[in-house]
Symmetry: C2
């Protein structure tokens, strides 16, 4: 529901174009008259030949979502939104487009992937690349210094000046709650800190100007080997091999809070102010994560770098752990399913006076999660209901359409999810079959005798049991049987 | 939840671009190195002057949605989606873009408003203009002949070969249910039929090729006077004045089922085959609407034309009725808030063999409804809660952060919506004030004594009453007090 369709925005954009178009109207209408005439002539010539050439497809890189796929999406979104609300978040939304300059200079090497639009009446627009930069723009524009919000069911952020690591720990708690609830298998959350990375780069001998680009190289360690990353650093980015090796010694370490303690004793790293701050904060973070009961899910991993330029402190990324494939089960794709971090400088980049608003947030990789859940359901050959209909209003004899319409309308008005077949005289067997296929649990059957007796025959589709229910009790009985709460809650 | 952010699609589109960009990588990285060096030099020169020139805004024609506005949207979407589900609809989704040719030739005069994109690697794309044409494309592509679905919480359609007027009546029932539930004031649904309009045009002397364009003119009658419409027909569209006058005699009539009966006796109209079919169907429709108990909301209105080309049968449009403005209340904008109709030919335009799938549907004008609800809430100065937090975990003394973190974590894990202030030692007064502002009904207060006694002090924010609750009973007590169902339902 957090959704505002791109369409609506575009309709508005289109509205702006109408004024200009009005001027072209007179000539356009003449053309249309001509077109109408030609179309009529064409119709007289027989069927449209051009239809054969038309390719029936969606644009490259896009897809449709079937009811089954949407049912999966809805369940995933339900879990995510419930969790965000459980943590007291408000919801905001921002346009699909931003001014090009809003996005410029925020993403580092990822900037190449930003998608630009045609000039719109003097405005250069780009499609948003994530929800974090639009959120920061929103905060600066509305002069907000304090908010906890989510954004189209996948991004959660806490903005404001708070005591260290409390909001950061909550973000990690939220990630763990969501991934546990989704039941997509065992997972691990890698944690690191940009200040530790920068300190490490400094003591290894990387020049300041290369921090971000070396950070991008390190970020690839979850996909390619250390050798390849080293080659990129030395060959493409001009790092001295011994500098790369020193980095290699660090970034191949991971562990729990004990690794934090160990690095706090590291003779070189502990001399670097930034690294020391980062390690101190991580130590505090682990204390809070223990109180939240999720410390066993967290791994301090020095190879975690996160590509985007805007992170300034703690960063994290959740990965699914590969489980040995069950017999007959396809091995599932494994990778990052959620990520985030602290970005204390981004809002200040938008504020005219550079005022900073510290922020920490997370983003759920919903597309990847959908595929995993879908694949899993397919492997289990599980049936997914795509409607929530509780009862089908059916008739045993002919000429009862009016009675069916009256009853189904009564049920709708009482809040019952009900259907009927759109046929005047459907066979009872067809009506029962429809319930089997659609997974509808109950049938309310009207017959001549039932009408005389003031009752409805209520049939359970699975057990095939039938009982007569007095018409005035039908709504309560359906609610009772389908577990719909009788109270309003 | 029916939402798939445009972003995700675009990220995929962007993915396709990455391959091309990889080739430019080597040179791009050299440039970035240079940029990094220059940025460093710039940083040494002092604060960024260019920031002053940056305009902080959203693109023309777009807007952000604040938590308050989103809370309103969510309530409206809840009503709509609940109704669609009550009527047994599945949900689908389609991309924000379509191939340009998918949209071509479907909208008539509205086609001018379609928004085209830059060439995307040989594909001409347009932004979807409504959800009906993409739905028809989806049906043809998947060879579906039978479905009842909704689409991003505002479009509902029934596709399939059914007995006449039963699905059409259900669409009108759905429109009435939604508009009643939204409580946005009294409304009326205007109904007409394209076949009646075409028959009327024929007997008035309009040539076939001008049906659609004259239909567009008639469609403006809800906004401008008959005189202006006549001027357009005669002056711009070349209709003879006496033909226009004959049309005028018809389109100024409206009424109930009695007007249908009257026109069935009309000596000229009843001789036209199309008009006769349309009138016969409307008579049947009114019977079903009476059974659904909504006939008093429906007006047969011969001036209703609906601009889009694809309608073939019944058409309808819901309008709010202006209520006399209350003292101090701004008069609310009045106009169409929902509309739809039957389009039996659209799917066939996509099917390679021209196979037809009859469809009927409706669309809710969600943007207009949001504005109305927002305006009304503002006029009433009503407070809108933007979070659903049930309880704030607070402490009465210092040094209890760890205890607060433990308790709030317990509550989250039990499904309670809970918050805490992100401060080590917040004052109790500040914690209570936060609850007042955010509308949080309960406070769970931890103190030294409570910890010793194994209890939590539960305080009601409005009544200020406090009771000690045993820690193991706290979750149940909060659920009981906030009306969250104890059963799982």
């Amino acid at each position: 529901m957090a959704e505002r369709a791109a369409l609506e925005e575009l309709v508005k954009l289109q509205g702006e174009r109408v004024r200009g178009l009005k001027q072209q109207k007179a000539s356009a209408e003449l053309i249309e008259e001509e077109v109408a005439k030609l179309l009529k002539l064409k119709a007289q010539l027989g069927p449209d030949e051009s239809k054969q050439k038309f390719v029936l497809k969606t644009p490259k890189g896009t897809r449709d979502y079937s009811p089954r796929q949407m049912a999966v999406r809805e369940k995933v979104f339900d879990v995510i939104i419930h969790c965000f609300k459980r943590h007291g978040a408000e919801v905001i939304d921002t346009p699909v487009f931003e001014l090009k300059e809003t996005l410029t200079g925020k993403y580092g090497e990822d900037s190449k992937l930003i998608y630009d639009l045609k000039d719109q009446g003097g405005e250069l627009l780009s499609l948003r690349y994530d929800l974090t930069v639009p959120f920061a723009r929103y905060l600066a524009m509305n002069k907000l210094t304090n908010i906890k919000r989510y954004h189209i069911a996948k991004d959660f952020d806490i903005a404001g000046n708070f005591d260290p690591m409390i909001p950061d720990a909550e973000c990690l708690k939220i990630m763990c709650e969501i991934l546990s609830s989704l039941q997509i298998g065992d997972f691990l959350v890698k944690v690191n800190d940009r200040r530790i990375l920068d300190g490490m780069f400094a003591i290894c001998g990387v020049s300041d100007s290369k921090f971000r680009t070396i950070c991008s190289s390190v970020d690839k360690l979850d996909k390619v080997s250390w050798e390849e990353v080293k080659n990129e650093m030395v060959g493409e980015k001009g790092l001295a091999p011994e500098v790369a090796d020193r980095i290699g010694d660090y970034v191949q370490q991971h562990g729990g809070v004990s690794l934090v303690e160990q690095l706090l004793q590291d003779p070189k790293l502990s001399q670097n102010k930034q690294a020391l701050e980062g390690l101190g904060d991580l130590k505090l973070l682990f204390e809070y994560l223990t109180l939240f009961g999720i410390d066993d899910k967290i791994s301090f991993d020095l190879s975690l770098a996160r590509g985007l330029d805007y992170y300034t402190g703690v960063i994290y990324e959740a990965v699914l752990l590969q489980t040995p494939a069950q017999a007959g089960e396809e091995p599932l794709g494994v990778g990052s399913v959620a990520a985030g971090g602290r970005y204390d400088g981004l809002v200040g980049m938008f504020d005219p006076k550079g005022r900073k608003v510290p922020c920490v947030g997370l983003s759920i990789g919903v597309e990847r999660i959908f595929s995993i859940v879908e694949q899993r359901l397919e492997a289990l050959e599980e049936k997914v209901r795509t409607t929530e209909t509780q009862v089908l209003v059916a008739s045993a004899q002919k000429k009862l359409l009016e009675e069916r319409l009256k009853l189904v309308s009564e049920l709708w008005d009482a809040g019952i999810k009900a259907e009927l077949l759109y046929k005047k005289n459907p066979k009872l067997l067809n009506q029962l079959q429809y319930c089997e296929e659609a997974g509808i649990p109950l049938v309310a059957i009207i017959g001549e005798q039932e009408l005389k007796d003031g009752v409805i025959k209520l049939r359970s589709v699975t057990s095939r049991e039938e009982v007569d229910v007095r018409r005035e009790d039908l709504v309560e009985e359906i609610k009772r049987r389908t577990g719909q709460p009788l109270c309003i809650c």
